[in-house]
Amino acid sequence: MNSFNTIWAKGRGDRATWLLWGLAAAFVAYTFATGGYLIAVLQFALIYTVLVTGLNIFMGFTGQVSFGHNAFAAIGGYSSAVLTTTYGWEPLPACLLGLAGALACALVVGYPVLRLRGHYLAMATLAIGLIVYEVAVQWQSVTQGYMGISGIPPIGIGSFTIASDRALLVFLMIVAALAMLSAAGIRRSRLGRAFVAAAGSEDAARALGIDVARYKLTAFMISAAYAAIAGSLFVHAVGFVSPEVFGLPMVVMSFTMLYVGGIGTIAGPALGAIIISVLPESFRTFKDYQDLAYGAALIVILIYAPRGLASLPELSARWRRRSA
Protein backbone atom coordinates (compact mmCIF):
# COMPACT_ATOMS: atom_id res chain seq x y z
CA MET A 1 0.00 0.00 0.00
CA ASN A 2 2.84 2.28 0.86
CA SER A 3 4.26 2.51 -2.58
CA PHE A 4 0.85 3.26 -3.94
CA ASN A 5 0.52 6.12 -1.51
CA THR A 6 3.84 7.59 -2.40
CA ILE A 7 3.16 7.48 -6.10
CA TRP A 8 0.09 9.58 -5.75
CA ALA A 9 0.90 11.32 -2.49
CA LYS A 10 3.28 13.76 -4.13
CA GLY A 11 0.40 14.99 -6.18
CA ARG A 12 -2.23 15.11 -3.49
CA GLY A 13 -3.37 18.67 -2.89
CA ASP A 14 -0.52 20.05 -4.90
CA ARG A 15 -1.67 22.86 -7.11
CA ALA A 16 0.98 22.34 -9.77
CA THR A 17 -0.16 18.77 -10.28
CA TRP A 18 -3.78 19.77 -10.50
CA LEU A 19 -2.78 22.48 -12.90
CA LEU A 20 -1.04 20.01 -15.19
CA TRP A 21 -3.93 17.60 -15.13
CA GLY A 22 -6.40 20.45 -15.40
CA LEU A 23 -4.64 21.72 -18.50
CA ALA A 24 -4.58 18.25 -19.99
CA ALA A 25 -8.28 17.74 -19.24
CA ALA A 26 -9.16 21.18 -20.61
CA PHE A 27 -7.27 20.40 -23.78
CA VAL A 28 -8.99 17.04 -24.19
CA ALA A 29 -12.40 18.60 -23.57
CA TYR A 30 -11.67 21.40 -26.03
CA THR A 31 -10.55 18.96 -28.68
CA PHE A 32 -13.49 16.70 -28.07
CA ALA A 33 -15.93 19.58 -28.35
CA THR A 34 -14.46 21.33 -31.38
CA GLY A 35 -13.46 18.22 -33.25
CA GLY A 36 -10.99 19.04 -35.96
CA TYR A 37 -7.58 17.64 -36.58
CA LEU A 38 -6.44 17.93 -32.99
CA ILE A 39 -8.52 14.81 -32.40
CA ALA A 40 -6.08 12.95 -34.61
CA VAL A 41 -3.15 14.46 -32.73
CA LEU A 42 -4.69 13.34 -29.47
CA GLN A 43 -5.44 9.87 -30.79
CA PHE A 44 -1.78 9.43 -31.69
CA ALA A 45 -0.79 10.81 -28.28
CA LEU A 46 -2.96 8.23 -26.52
CA ILE A 47 -1.54 5.39 -28.61
CA TYR A 48 1.93 6.62 -27.76
CA THR A 49 0.90 6.71 -24.10
CA VAL A 50 0.45 2.94 -24.26
CA LEU A 51 3.79 2.44 -26.00
CA VAL A 52 5.74 4.75 -23.68
CA THR A 53 4.05 3.37 -20.56
CA GLY A 54 5.34 -0.05 -21.56
CA LEU A 55 8.79 1.31 -22.37
CA ASN A 56 8.80 2.95 -18.96
CA ILE A 57 8.34 -0.43 -17.26
CA PHE A 58 11.54 -1.63 -18.89
CA MET A 59 13.54 1.61 -18.85
CA GLY A 60 12.07 3.53 -15.93
CA PHE A 61 11.23 0.82 -13.43
CA THR A 62 13.87 -1.75 -14.35
CA GLY A 63 16.59 0.71 -15.40
CA GLN A 64 17.45 -0.95 -18.73
CA VAL A 65 17.77 0.58 -22.19
CA SER A 66 15.90 -0.41 -25.34
CA PHE A 67 16.10 1.25 -28.72
CA GLY A 68 14.17 -1.64 -30.22
CA HIS A 69 10.61 -1.45 -28.99
CA ASN A 70 9.48 -0.31 -32.42
CA ALA A 71 10.10 -3.96 -33.36
CA PHE A 72 7.35 -5.14 -31.04
CA ALA A 73 5.02 -2.38 -32.17
CA ALA A 74 5.69 -3.53 -35.73
CA ILE A 75 4.94 -7.17 -34.86
CA GLY A 76 1.64 -6.15 -33.27
CA GLY A 77 0.77 -3.72 -36.05
CA TYR A 78 1.61 -6.03 -38.93
CA SER A 79 -0.17 -8.99 -37.33
CA SER A 80 -3.31 -6.90 -37.03
CA ALA A 81 -2.96 -5.53 -40.55
CA VAL A 82 -2.22 -8.82 -42.31
CA LEU A 83 -4.71 -10.95 -40.40
CA THR A 84 -7.61 -8.53 -40.79
CA THR A 85 -7.04 -7.63 -44.44
CA THR A 86 -5.60 -10.78 -46.05
CA TYR A 87 -7.30 -13.37 -43.87
CA GLY A 88 -10.44 -11.52 -42.81
CA TRP A 89 -9.88 -11.97 -39.07
CA GLU A 90 -11.65 -9.88 -36.44
CA PRO A 91 -9.42 -7.10 -35.05
CA LEU A 92 -9.42 -8.48 -31.49
CA PRO A 93 -8.07 -11.98 -32.17
CA ALA A 94 -5.64 -10.49 -34.69
CA CYS A 95 -4.36 -8.11 -32.02
CA LEU A 96 -4.07 -10.96 -29.52
CA LEU A 97 -2.06 -13.08 -31.92
CA GLY A 98 0.24 -10.10 -32.55
CA LEU A 99 0.61 -9.75 -28.81
CA ALA A 100 1.56 -13.41 -28.49
CA GLY A 101 4.03 -13.01 -31.35
CA ALA A 102 5.64 -10.02 -29.69
CA LEU A 103 5.90 -11.89 -26.38
CA ALA A 104 7.50 -14.88 -28.06
CA CYS A 105 9.94 -12.62 -29.90
CA ALA A 106 10.77 -10.74 -26.70
CA LEU A 107 11.45 -14.04 -24.94
CA VAL A 108 13.69 -15.43 -27.66
CA VAL A 109 15.54 -12.18 -28.19
CA GLY A 110 15.59 -11.04 -24.57
CA TYR A 111 17.03 -14.23 -23.14
CA PRO A 112 20.50 -13.80 -24.66
CA VAL A 113 20.42 -10.03 -25.07
CA LEU A 114 19.54 -9.16 -21.49
CA ARG A 115 22.81 -10.62 -20.29
CA LEU A 116 24.40 -7.59 -21.87
CA ARG A 117 24.67 -4.34 -19.99
CA GLY A 118 24.55 -0.64 -20.83
CA HIS A 119 25.77 0.26 -24.31
CA TYR A 120 25.82 -3.35 -25.47
CA LEU A 121 22.21 -3.86 -24.53
CA ALA A 122 21.30 -0.61 -26.27
CA MET A 123 23.11 -1.68 -29.45
CA ALA A 124 21.54 -5.12 -29.41
CA THR A 125 18.01 -3.75 -29.04
CA LEU A 126 18.68 -1.22 -31.78
CA ALA A 127 19.59 -4.14 -34.02
CA ILE A 128 16.28 -5.87 -33.26
CA GLY A 129 14.40 -2.78 -34.38
CA LEU A 130 16.40 -2.58 -37.61
CA ILE A 131 15.96 -6.28 -38.35
CA VAL A 132 12.19 -6.19 -37.95
CA TYR A 133 12.07 -3.07 -40.14
CA GLU A 134 14.09 -4.88 -42.81
CA VAL A 135 11.80 -7.91 -42.62
CA ALA A 136 8.79 -5.63 -43.09
CA VAL A 137 10.45 -4.21 -46.22
CA GLN A 138 11.65 -7.49 -47.72
CA TRP A 139 8.87 -9.96 -46.93
CA GLN A 140 6.75 -8.54 -49.71
CA SER A 141 4.43 -11.50 -50.17
CA VAL A 142 3.04 -10.82 -46.70
CA THR A 143 3.82 -7.19 -45.83
CA GLN A 144 3.77 -5.75 -49.35
CA GLY A 145 7.04 -3.97 -48.58
CA TYR A 146 7.10 -0.19 -48.90
CA MET A 147 3.81 -0.37 -50.75
CA GLY A 148 2.19 -0.99 -47.39
CA ILE A 149 -1.13 -2.53 -46.49
CA SER A 150 -4.22 -0.39 -46.77
CA GLY A 151 -7.88 -0.98 -46.05
CA ILE A 152 -7.28 -2.10 -42.47
CA PRO A 153 -10.70 -2.04 -40.76
CA PRO A 154 -11.36 0.09 -37.67
CA ILE A 155 -11.34 -1.49 -34.23
CA GLY A 156 -14.52 -3.29 -33.25
CA ILE A 157 -16.17 -6.54 -32.32
CA GLY A 158 -18.49 -8.22 -34.80
CA SER A 159 -20.79 -5.70 -36.41
CA PHE A 160 -19.98 -3.08 -33.82
CA THR A 161 -17.08 -0.94 -35.00
CA ILE A 162 -15.62 2.22 -33.59
CA ALA A 163 -15.91 4.29 -36.70
CA SER A 164 -16.31 7.90 -35.59
CA ASP A 165 -13.38 10.02 -34.52
CA ARG A 166 -14.88 10.92 -31.17
CA ALA A 167 -15.74 7.31 -30.36
CA LEU A 168 -12.19 6.28 -31.21
CA LEU A 169 -10.87 9.08 -29.01
CA VAL A 170 -12.96 7.87 -26.07
CA PHE A 171 -11.91 4.28 -26.69
CA LEU A 172 -8.23 5.22 -26.81
CA MET A 173 -8.62 7.27 -23.63
CA ILE A 174 -9.96 4.18 -21.89
CA VAL A 175 -7.14 2.01 -23.24
CA ALA A 176 -4.49 4.57 -22.26
CA ALA A 177 -6.02 4.85 -18.77
CA LEU A 178 -5.96 1.06 -18.44
CA ALA A 179 -2.33 1.03 -19.53
CA MET A 180 -1.44 3.58 -16.85
CA LEU A 181 -3.44 1.81 -14.15
CA SER A 182 -1.90 -1.54 -14.97
CA ALA A 183 1.56 0.03 -14.88
CA ALA A 184 0.76 1.54 -11.47
CA GLY A 185 -0.44 -1.88 -10.34
CA ILE A 186 2.74 -3.52 -11.54
CA ARG A 187 4.86 -0.84 -9.89
CA ARG A 188 3.33 -1.41 -6.48
CA SER A 189 3.30 -5.20 -6.75
CA ARG A 190 6.04 -7.57 -5.62
CA LEU A 191 7.05 -7.81 -9.25
CA GLY A 192 7.37 -4.04 -9.58
CA ARG A 193 9.51 -3.79 -6.48
CA ALA A 194 11.84 -6.41 -7.91
CA PHE A 195 12.04 -4.36 -11.15
CA VAL A 196 12.97 -1.20 -9.28
CA ALA A 197 15.43 -3.12 -7.12
CA ALA A 198 17.18 -4.44 -10.23
CA ALA A 199 17.36 -0.87 -11.53
CA GLY A 200 18.77 0.49 -8.28
CA SER A 201 21.60 -1.92 -7.69
CA GLU A 202 21.80 -5.23 -9.45
CA ASP A 203 24.29 -6.65 -6.99
CA ALA A 204 22.37 -5.53 -3.94
CA ALA A 205 19.20 -7.01 -5.39
CA ARG A 206 20.93 -10.30 -6.11
CA ALA A 207 22.43 -10.32 -2.62
CA LEU A 208 18.86 -10.19 -1.32
CA GLY A 209 17.95 -13.29 -3.31
CA ILE A 210 16.23 -11.53 -6.23
CA ASP A 211 16.80 -13.29 -9.55
CA VAL A 212 17.68 -10.15 -11.48
CA ALA A 213 18.08 -11.79 -14.89
CA ARG A 214 14.62 -13.29 -14.74
CA TYR A 215 12.99 -10.03 -13.74
CA LYS A 216 14.76 -8.12 -16.48
CA LEU A 217 13.38 -10.62 -18.98
CA THR A 218 9.91 -10.34 -17.45
CA ALA A 219 10.01 -6.55 -17.65
CA PHE A 220 11.21 -6.75 -21.25
CA MET A 221 8.31 -9.01 -22.19
CA ILE A 222 5.69 -6.95 -20.39
CA SER A 223 6.88 -3.79 -22.10
CA ALA A 224 6.94 -5.61 -25.45
CA ALA A 225 3.28 -6.48 -24.87
CA TYR A 226 2.37 -2.81 -24.40
CA ALA A 227 4.29 -1.96 -27.57
CA ALA A 228 2.46 -4.66 -29.55
CA ILE A 229 -0.92 -3.32 -28.40
CA ALA A 230 0.14 0.21 -29.36
CA GLY A 231 1.19 -1.06 -32.78
CA SER A 232 -2.19 -2.73 -33.33
CA LEU A 233 -4.07 0.35 -32.18
CA PHE A 234 -2.02 2.46 -34.56
CA VAL A 235 -2.76 0.48 -37.71
CA HIS A 236 -6.47 0.24 -36.90
CA ALA A 237 -6.68 3.95 -36.17
CA VAL A 238 -4.95 4.94 -39.41
CA GLY A 239 -6.16 2.08 -41.59
CA PHE A 240 -2.76 1.77 -43.24
CA VAL A 241 0.63 0.37 -42.39
CA SER A 242 4.02 0.49 -44.06
CA PRO A 243 7.52 -0.09 -42.65
CA GLU A 244 8.10 3.65 -42.12
CA VAL A 245 5.31 3.69 -39.54
CA PHE A 246 7.52 1.70 -37.18
CA GLY A 247 10.88 3.20 -38.12
CA LEU A 248 13.56 4.90 -36.08
CA PRO A 249 11.56 8.13 -35.67
CA MET A 250 9.17 6.12 -33.47
CA VAL A 251 12.09 5.28 -31.19
CA VAL A 252 13.25 8.89 -31.02
CA MET A 253 9.69 10.04 -30.37
CA SER A 254 9.05 7.57 -27.55
CA PHE A 255 12.37 8.41 -25.90
CA THR A 256 11.58 12.12 -26.01
CA MET A 257 8.17 11.49 -24.52
CA LEU A 258 9.60 9.30 -21.78
CA TYR A 259 12.24 11.78 -20.72
CA VAL A 260 10.14 14.91 -21.08
CA GLY A 261 7.26 13.32 -19.21
CA GLY A 262 9.37 11.84 -16.47
CA ILE A 263 11.03 8.43 -16.61
CA GLY A 264 10.12 6.03 -13.84
CA THR A 265 6.90 7.80 -12.88
CA ILE A 266 3.35 6.67 -13.56
CA ALA A 267 1.99 9.90 -15.01
CA GLY A 268 5.15 10.77 -16.94
CA PRO A 269 4.53 8.69 -20.09
CA ALA A 270 1.05 10.14 -20.55
CA LEU A 271 2.18 13.70 -19.88
CA GLY A 272 5.13 13.28 -22.21
CA ALA A 273 3.07 11.71 -24.97
CA ILE A 274 0.49 14.49 -24.88
CA ILE A 275 2.96 17.36 -24.60
CA ILE A 276 5.30 16.04 -27.29
CA SER A 277 2.37 15.43 -29.64
CA VAL A 278 0.72 18.79 -29.07
CA LEU A 279 3.85 20.93 -28.89
CA PRO A 280 4.70 20.83 -32.61
CA GLU A 281 1.07 21.60 -33.44
CA SER A 282 1.10 24.79 -31.41
CA PHE A 283 4.22 25.83 -33.32
CA ARG A 284 2.78 25.05 -36.76
CA THR A 285 2.10 28.71 -37.42
CA PHE A 286 5.85 29.29 -37.14
CA LYS A 287 6.23 27.47 -40.50
CA ASP A 288 9.93 26.96 -41.21
CA TYR A 289 10.78 27.76 -37.61
CA GLN A 290 8.47 25.06 -36.27
CA ASP A 291 11.26 22.60 -35.60
CA LEU A 292 13.40 25.32 -34.10
CA ALA A 293 10.65 26.42 -31.68
CA TYR A 294 9.92 22.80 -30.84
CA GLY A 295 13.58 22.11 -30.09
CA ALA A 296 13.85 25.24 -27.98
CA ALA A 297 10.75 24.25 -26.02
CA LEU A 298 12.24 20.81 -25.36
CA ILE A 299 15.45 22.33 -24.08
CA VAL A 300 13.56 24.69 -21.77
CA ILE A 301 11.54 21.79 -20.37
CA LEU A 302 14.61 19.66 -19.78
CA ILE A 303 16.46 22.55 -18.12
CA TYR A 304 13.66 23.47 -15.73
CA ALA A 305 12.33 19.97 -15.17
CA PRO A 306 15.34 17.73 -15.75
CA ARG A 307 13.50 14.74 -14.36
CA GLY A 308 10.49 15.36 -16.55
CA LEU A 309 7.21 17.16 -16.26
CA ALA A 310 5.89 14.63 -13.75
CA SER A 311 8.51 15.92 -11.31
CA LEU A 312 7.29 19.52 -11.60
CA PRO A 313 5.05 19.31 -8.49
CA GLU A 314 8.04 18.19 -6.45
CA LEU A 315 10.18 20.99 -7.86
CA SER A 316 7.56 23.62 -7.22
CA ALA A 317 7.05 22.31 -3.70
CA ARG A 318 10.76 22.55 -3.02
CA TRP A 319 10.87 26.03 -4.52
CA ARG A 320 7.99 27.14 -2.35
CA ARG A 321 9.60 25.69 0.74
CA ARG A 322 12.78 27.55 -0.06
CA SER A 323 11.06 30.85 -0.65
CA ALA A 324 8.81 30.44 2.40
Partner: protein, 241 residues
Amino acid sequence: MISTATTTRILEVEGLSARYGHVEALRPVDLHVDEGELVAVLGPNGAGKSTLMNAIMGLVPTQGRVRFRGREVPRRAPAAAAALGIVLVPEGRGIFAPMTVAENLELGAYLLNDRHEYARRHARVLAMFPRLKERLSQTAGSLSGGEQQMLAVGRALMSEPKILLLDEPSLGLAPRIIEEILQKLGELNRQGLSIILVEQKAPLVLKLAQRAYLLSVGSIAAEIDPRTIKSHDELVQYYLG
Protein backbone atom coordinates in the same frame (compact mmCIF):
# COMPACT_ATOMS: atom_id res chain seq x y z
CA MET B 1 42.51 -18.35 19.33
CA ILE B 2 39.34 -18.59 21.34
CA SER B 3 38.85 -22.15 22.31
CA THR B 4 35.38 -22.68 23.66
CA ALA B 5 34.62 -26.35 23.88
CA THR B 6 31.19 -26.40 22.23
CA THR B 7 31.56 -24.01 19.28
CA THR B 8 30.50 -25.17 15.83
CA ARG B 9 31.35 -23.61 12.49
CA ILE B 10 28.61 -21.66 10.76
CA LEU B 11 30.76 -20.72 7.77
CA GLU B 12 33.84 -22.36 6.35
CA VAL B 13 35.71 -20.94 3.40
CA GLU B 14 38.31 -23.09 1.67
CA GLY B 15 40.67 -22.01 -1.06
CA LEU B 16 38.30 -19.31 -2.29
CA SER B 17 39.80 -17.18 -5.06
CA ALA B 18 38.47 -14.66 -7.56
CA ARG B 19 39.83 -12.73 -10.50
CA TYR B 20 38.75 -9.84 -12.68
CA GLY B 21 40.23 -10.64 -16.06
CA HIS B 22 43.98 -10.76 -15.44
CA VAL B 23 43.79 -9.24 -11.98
CA GLU B 24 43.84 -11.88 -9.28
CA ALA B 25 41.92 -9.90 -6.67
CA LEU B 26 41.62 -12.81 -4.26
CA ARG B 27 44.29 -15.50 -3.87
CA PRO B 28 43.03 -18.79 -2.42
CA VAL B 29 41.74 -17.84 1.02
CA ASP B 30 40.79 -20.01 4.00
CA LEU B 31 38.71 -18.68 6.88
CA HIS B 32 35.91 -19.67 9.17
CA VAL B 33 33.26 -18.16 11.42
CA ASP B 34 31.86 -19.88 14.47
CA GLU B 35 28.23 -19.79 15.50
CA GLY B 36 27.49 -16.52 17.26
CA GLU B 37 30.87 -15.04 16.45
CA LEU B 38 31.65 -11.54 15.22
CA VAL B 39 34.68 -11.72 12.98
CA ALA B 40 36.37 -8.64 11.57
CA VAL B 41 38.11 -8.56 8.20
CA LEU B 42 40.63 -5.76 8.11
CA GLY B 43 42.84 -4.45 5.38
CA PRO B 44 43.79 -1.37 3.40
CA ASN B 45 41.96 -0.10 0.36
CA GLY B 46 42.25 -2.54 -2.54
CA ALA B 47 43.20 -5.47 -0.36
CA GLY B 48 40.33 -7.55 -1.71
CA LYS B 49 37.90 -7.30 1.20
CA SER B 50 34.88 -6.53 -0.95
CA THR B 51 35.88 -9.20 -3.41
CA LEU B 52 35.98 -11.70 -0.56
CA MET B 53 32.46 -10.75 0.57
CA ASN B 54 31.10 -10.89 -2.98
CA ALA B 55 32.84 -14.21 -3.50
CA ILE B 56 31.25 -15.73 -0.40
CA MET B 57 27.87 -14.44 -1.57
CA GLY B 58 28.40 -15.84 -5.06
CA LEU B 59 28.18 -12.47 -6.80
CA VAL B 60 31.47 -12.91 -8.67
CA PRO B 61 32.93 -15.96 -10.42
CA THR B 62 35.12 -17.87 -8.00
CA GLN B 63 37.07 -21.01 -7.43
CA GLY B 64 37.11 -22.87 -4.14
CA ARG B 65 34.34 -23.78 -1.76
CA VAL B 66 32.12 -22.23 0.86
CA ARG B 67 30.27 -24.35 3.40
CA PHE B 68 27.38 -23.19 5.52
CA ARG B 69 26.74 -25.35 8.59
CA GLY B 70 28.49 -28.15 6.82
CA ARG B 71 26.48 -27.79 3.59
CA GLU B 72 28.06 -26.74 0.34
CA VAL B 73 26.91 -23.29 -0.83
CA PRO B 74 26.41 -23.39 -4.62
CA ARG B 75 28.65 -21.00 -6.50
CA ARG B 76 27.38 -18.07 -8.59
CA ALA B 77 23.93 -18.38 -7.07
CA PRO B 78 23.39 -15.49 -4.66
CA ALA B 79 19.71 -16.37 -4.40
CA ALA B 80 20.65 -19.81 -3.06
CA ALA B 81 23.10 -18.30 -0.58
CA ALA B 82 20.44 -15.86 0.57
CA ALA B 83 17.94 -18.67 0.97
CA LEU B 84 20.41 -20.47 3.26
CA GLY B 85 20.67 -17.38 5.46
CA ILE B 86 23.82 -15.67 4.20
CA VAL B 87 23.07 -12.01 3.59
CA LEU B 88 25.38 -9.22 2.49
CA VAL B 89 25.09 -5.52 3.19
CA PRO B 90 27.24 -4.37 0.28
CA GLU B 91 29.80 -1.61 0.25
CA GLY B 92 28.04 1.69 -0.42
CA ARG B 93 24.92 0.20 1.19
CA GLY B 94 23.10 -0.63 -2.06
CA ILE B 95 19.79 0.80 -0.94
CA PHE B 96 17.11 1.33 -3.59
CA ALA B 97 16.97 5.11 -3.66
CA PRO B 98 13.78 5.67 -5.66
CA MET B 99 11.80 3.33 -3.44
CA THR B 100 10.37 4.12 -0.04
CA VAL B 101 11.91 2.90 3.18
CA ALA B 102 8.96 0.52 3.57
CA GLU B 103 9.51 -0.95 0.10
CA ASN B 104 13.21 -1.38 0.78
CA LEU B 105 12.38 -3.35 3.89
CA GLU B 106 9.88 -5.43 1.95
CA LEU B 107 12.55 -6.32 -0.56
CA GLY B 108 14.72 -7.57 2.27
CA ALA B 109 12.12 -10.26 2.92
CA TYR B 110 11.67 -10.97 -0.76
CA LEU B 111 11.86 -14.73 -0.34
CA LEU B 112 9.30 -14.73 2.49
CA ASN B 113 5.65 -15.51 1.84
CA ASP B 114 4.13 -15.34 5.29
CA ARG B 115 2.25 -12.22 6.42
CA HIS B 116 2.49 -12.85 10.14
CA GLU B 117 6.13 -13.66 10.06
CA TYR B 118 6.63 -10.57 7.92
CA ALA B 119 4.85 -8.37 10.46
CA ARG B 120 6.95 -9.82 13.26
CA ARG B 121 10.24 -9.12 11.50
CA HIS B 122 9.08 -5.67 10.45
CA ALA B 123 8.23 -4.76 14.04
CA ARG B 124 11.56 -6.12 15.24
CA VAL B 125 13.58 -4.11 12.75
CA LEU B 126 11.68 -0.92 13.52
CA ALA B 127 12.19 -1.49 17.22
CA MET B 128 15.89 -1.76 16.58
CA PHE B 129 15.99 1.32 14.31
CA PRO B 130 13.18 3.62 15.54
CA ARG B 131 14.36 6.33 13.16
CA LEU B 132 13.26 4.26 10.17
CA LYS B 133 9.76 4.08 11.57
CA GLU B 134 9.25 7.82 11.16
CA ARG B 135 10.50 7.65 7.60
CA LEU B 136 8.65 4.60 6.27
CA SER B 137 6.92 6.40 3.41
CA GLN B 138 9.90 8.58 2.52
CA THR B 139 12.04 7.58 -0.44
CA ALA B 140 15.26 5.92 0.64
CA GLY B 141 17.26 8.37 -1.42
CA SER B 142 16.11 11.24 0.77
CA LEU B 143 17.58 9.72 3.95
CA SER B 144 20.84 10.84 5.53
CA GLY B 145 23.89 8.62 5.12
CA GLY B 146 23.53 7.16 8.59
CA GLU B 147 19.85 6.46 8.11
CA GLN B 148 20.61 4.79 4.80
CA GLN B 149 23.11 2.51 6.49
CA MET B 150 20.53 1.66 9.15
CA LEU B 151 18.07 0.91 6.38
CA ALA B 152 20.59 -1.33 4.65
CA VAL B 153 21.17 -3.28 7.85
CA GLY B 154 17.44 -3.32 8.64
CA ARG B 155 16.68 -4.57 5.15
CA ALA B 156 19.19 -7.36 5.55
CA LEU B 157 17.68 -8.29 8.92
CA MET B 158 14.25 -8.62 7.29
CA SER B 159 15.44 -11.88 5.80
CA GLU B 160 16.39 -13.18 9.27
CA PRO B 161 19.93 -14.00 8.24
CA LYS B 162 21.92 -16.67 10.04
CA ILE B 163 25.10 -14.85 9.17
CA LEU B 164 25.36 -11.21 8.21
CA LEU B 165 28.19 -9.89 6.04
CA LEU B 166 28.79 -6.14 6.33
CA ASP B 167 31.12 -4.41 3.87
CA GLU B 168 32.50 -1.20 5.38
CA PRO B 169 29.33 0.09 7.02
CA SER B 170 31.25 3.09 8.37
CA LEU B 171 32.08 4.44 4.92
CA GLY B 172 31.40 8.17 4.69
CA LEU B 173 29.68 8.47 8.06
CA ALA B 174 30.30 10.81 10.99
CA PRO B 175 32.02 9.25 14.03
CA ARG B 176 28.94 9.62 16.21
CA ILE B 177 26.80 7.72 13.70
CA ILE B 178 29.45 5.03 13.24
CA GLU B 179 29.45 4.57 16.99
CA GLU B 180 25.68 4.13 16.98
CA ILE B 181 25.68 1.59 14.19
CA LEU B 182 28.51 -0.45 15.63
CA GLN B 183 26.69 -0.51 18.92
CA LYS B 184 23.63 -1.99 17.18
CA LEU B 185 25.81 -4.60 15.51
CA GLY B 186 27.25 -5.55 18.89
CA GLU B 187 23.73 -5.87 20.21
CA LEU B 188 22.74 -8.13 17.33
CA ASN B 189 25.80 -10.25 17.90
CA ARG B 190 24.99 -10.61 21.59
CA GLN B 191 21.54 -11.82 20.56
CA GLY B 192 23.33 -14.65 18.78
CA LEU B 193 23.76 -13.43 15.19
CA SER B 194 27.01 -14.39 13.47
CA ILE B 195 28.63 -11.47 11.70
CA ILE B 196 31.53 -10.77 9.37
CA LEU B 197 32.42 -7.10 9.61
CA VAL B 198 34.71 -5.62 6.97
CA GLU B 199 36.51 -2.42 7.91
CA GLN B 200 39.53 -0.36 7.01
CA LYS B 201 39.58 1.45 10.34
CA ALA B 202 40.75 -1.27 12.69
CA PRO B 203 40.45 0.53 16.05
CA LEU B 204 36.71 0.87 15.54
CA VAL B 205 36.00 -2.82 15.40
CA LEU B 206 38.65 -4.49 17.46
CA LYS B 207 36.69 -3.75 20.61
CA LEU B 208 33.69 -5.52 19.12
CA ALA B 209 35.23 -8.47 17.30
CA GLN B 210 36.10 -11.78 18.82
CA ARG B 211 38.55 -12.51 16.03
CA ALA B 212 40.00 -10.64 13.08
CA TYR B 213 41.57 -11.54 9.76
CA LEU B 214 44.03 -9.21 8.19
CA LEU B 215 43.79 -9.15 4.41
CA SER B 216 46.63 -7.84 2.29
CA VAL B 217 46.95 -7.92 -1.50
CA GLY B 218 44.33 -10.59 -1.88
CA SER B 219 45.41 -13.06 0.76
CA ILE B 220 45.15 -13.44 4.50
CA ALA B 221 48.28 -12.03 6.10
CA ALA B 222 47.38 -12.83 9.67
CA GLU B 223 44.69 -13.91 12.06
CA ILE B 224 44.52 -11.72 15.14
CA ASP B 225 43.11 -12.06 18.57
CA PRO B 226 41.95 -8.52 19.34
CA ARG B 227 42.63 -8.91 23.04
CA THR B 228 46.31 -9.36 22.34
CA ILE B 229 46.57 -6.12 20.44
CA LYS B 230 47.64 -3.62 23.03
CA SER B 231 48.29 -0.56 20.95
CA HIS B 232 47.63 0.92 17.62
CA ASP B 233 51.28 0.67 16.77
CA GLU B 234 51.20 -3.05 17.09
CA LEU B 235 48.45 -3.21 14.51
CA VAL B 236 50.36 -1.03 12.13
CA GLN B 237 53.15 -3.55 12.36
CA TYR B 238 50.77 -6.19 11.14
CA TYR B 239 49.76 -4.03 8.24
CA LEU B 240 53.37 -3.64 7.20
CA GLY B 241 53.86 -7.39 7.44
